[in-house]
Amino acid sequence: MTVSAILFLLVLLAAFSYFMGRQKIHAVYQQQRQNVDTNVRSKAKFTLPKYFGYVAALWSLVPALLVLLVIEIIDEPIITTQLTDYMVQSNLNVGNNFDLYLNEIQNLDANNLADVEHAKIKVFEKLNHLNKIASTAKSVIVLALAILMTIFGLKKITVGIPARQYFEKAIEIILLLAASIAVLTTVGIVLSVLFESIRFFGEIPVVDFMFGTQWSPQTAIRADQVGSSAAFGAVPLFIGTMLISFVALTVAVPLGLMSAIFLSEYASSGFRAFAKPVLEILAGIPTVVYGFFAALTVAPFIRELGQSIGLSVASESALAAGLVMGIMIIPFVSSLADDVISAVPQAMREGSLGLGATKSETIVKVLIPAALPGIVGGVLLAASRAIGETMIVVMAAGLAANLTVNPLNAVTTVTVQIVTLLTGDQEFDSAKTLAAFALGLMLFLTTLVLNIIALHVVRKYREQYD
């Protein structure tokens, strides 16, 4: 029986429990009502019968589901162990790569065993046999438990129990589990990048990765080919990432900050009502569109501009990618800046204006210094965005890992390399794909630190004026 079939039966059983449970309590209530004089309506408040139904349904569903989950997790290791024992007993030559052999067996097609060697077929049949036993055992155990629990639950519910409270507690636990998915995701991210990174650092020393200045992950296809050694020094990527992010921030921070100031302090309400949504459009355009625009319109434009004044600009210059990325981040910076500046109490503004300061003096000398922690937090968040931005750089920045800080040259970034390393047809365990995870780890840690600092600074700043 497949898992979905088991689940379907469980749901049917739960529905049955619900109706039975509700019916049971309903009947009891009817009985009670008949016993009481109809003129004297009982003032006692009853728990609605449906809650008893829910509790009964939970009884039949939850334990069975938990057991099913446990079996699903442990059945594969058990089958593998059994199979291994069998193979050892029958003295099969499995070669030196046991996992690979097992994998081959698992991928055999039952309808197409013609040219498979006899030994493999035997193991395959054993595997099928074991799978069948496991599947039957699973169905029997889970369904038996469910039926048992249904009987038990229906017996257990009586008018006396606080059914509503039980049910609500169960719902609350479900809500808590939903909230915990965020934590689970973080754990998943950490584990997945950390695990592969450790394997990577098993092959390439951490120091070589962190401080090496040579990046050329192109390993040869065959080990005996020339140039088979790859270099994994990530410094050029870090520098490239920082260079492009720096260009982006030099565009986004002043423009975003000034836009926010203009819109909140100077613009008429009519203009503001028009301008804010337009800025939001800028934020809503997919990054792949910016990438396309950067690569096909901005980069050639900058190159020609550079040529006309005698500068040699790479066709995939850091400047083009950074510029477009900067424009993309403007609305992000501007909305954060707007938030923190408007959080500065009105009294500050009035205090300054009351002394005869002009608007710009008030903004530059009072509002911005007062909002500085919030603005810094916003800039850090923007930096984290720029560092993690992928599509613009994938499309508009280069692949060659040049170690340079000249924005007119082509550089590559951490995100570009992750994409390049993982989108080819690669064997998953090669150093090349593992390197992508090591880069991912660096990216995750950097942005995490930036985010934590930024969110903390902004929160402290808000508390100050609340």
């Binding site: 009035e350 205090g351 002394l355 005869g356 300061a357 002009t358």
Partner: protein, 278 residues
């Protein structure tokens, strides 16, 4: 109307309205306002107020909450300009010049007419920078020594110097509420204004800090015209020479402070000062 308008004409004009009782006008007026109406969008907040503020006098504006006394006060240095929907009509003359005239500059006006706010609002800067802020933006001093002197002098005048002289570089927000308010006063004085507007300057302070501020106000009277809005009648009685009573946006009565509190001419004033509403 220009600044040569005969005082008598103004008086008779006001008499026609017959709303304000007492003596709203004085001979030696620093500020004279006539027929001031204030609107917030379509709501009228001030109705036809005419009032003079004399040189070197403390005039208290009292009245129940929402009577328009703060709104009126904020007209005097055009702080209402910061609110888009606020519209002021009528005549407001400072030394005979219309402060709402087209060529009148609000920045210059506010340098001449300083303001102290209800809640102490020091800037998140050092004590020194708070006081030096005004002189710096207006370019009042030409070198650091002069600025130092001006800051010290202002802090002395505000009665704060002794308490803070050793920590001028520490943040102004670290002071106690009363000290903060005196810092704000020092900040205002540093611009050397001619008039100081105070919007309930002691309402956020404890009684001891309040007493110090009140003393300070009496001291400052020698050099400045002070207009103070207060919700405390005792305070008005203690610090002011003249008192104006506002009610629902109208100026009901103006007179010598003694007279207002002992022998009010208008029913509403009497009801208010005897605590029957407010």
């Amino acid at each position: 109307m220009n600044n040569n308008t005969d005082q008598k004409t103004l008086d008779s004009m006001h008499a026609e309205h017959g709303k304000t009782v007492g003596q709203p006008f004085c001979q030696d007026a620093k500020f004279s306002t006539r027929n001031v109406d204030v609107f917030y969008a379509d709501n009228q907040a001030i109705y036809d107020v005419s009032l003079d503020m004399g040189k070197n006098e403390v005039i208290a504006l009292i009245g129940p909450s929402g009577c328009g006394k703060s709104t009126y006060l904020r007209c005097l240095n055009r702080m209402n300009d910061t609110i888009d929907i606020c519209k002021v009509t009528g005549q407001l003359l400072l030394d005979g010049q219309d402060i709402y005239a087209k060529d009148q500059d609000p920045v210059l006006l506010r340098a001449r007419v300083g303001m102290v706010f209800q809640k102490p609002n020091p800037f998140p800067k050092s004590i020194y920078d708070n006081v030096a802020y005004g002189p710096r933006i207006h370019g009042l001093t030409s070198n650091k020594a002069e600025l130092d002197d001006l800051v010290e002098e202002s802090l002395i005048k505000a009665g704060l110097f002794k308490e803070v002289k050793d920590r001028l570089e520490s943040p102004g927000t670290g002071l106690s509420g009363g000290q903060q308010q005196r810092l704000c006063i020092a900040r205002t004085i540093a611009v050397q204004p001619e008039v100081i507007l105070m919007d309930e300057p002691a309402s956020a302070l404890d009684p001891i800090a309040t007493a110090i501020i009140e003393e300070l106000i009496s001291e400052l009277r020698k050099n400045y015209t002070i207009v103070i809005v207060t919700h405390s009648m005792q305070q008005a009685a203690r610090v002011s020479q003249r008192t104006a009573y506002f009610h629902l946006g109208k100026l009901i009565e103006v007179g010598e402070t003694n007279q207002i509190f002992t022998n009010p001419a208008h029913d509403l004033t009497e009801k208010y000062i005897t605590g029957r509403f407010g």
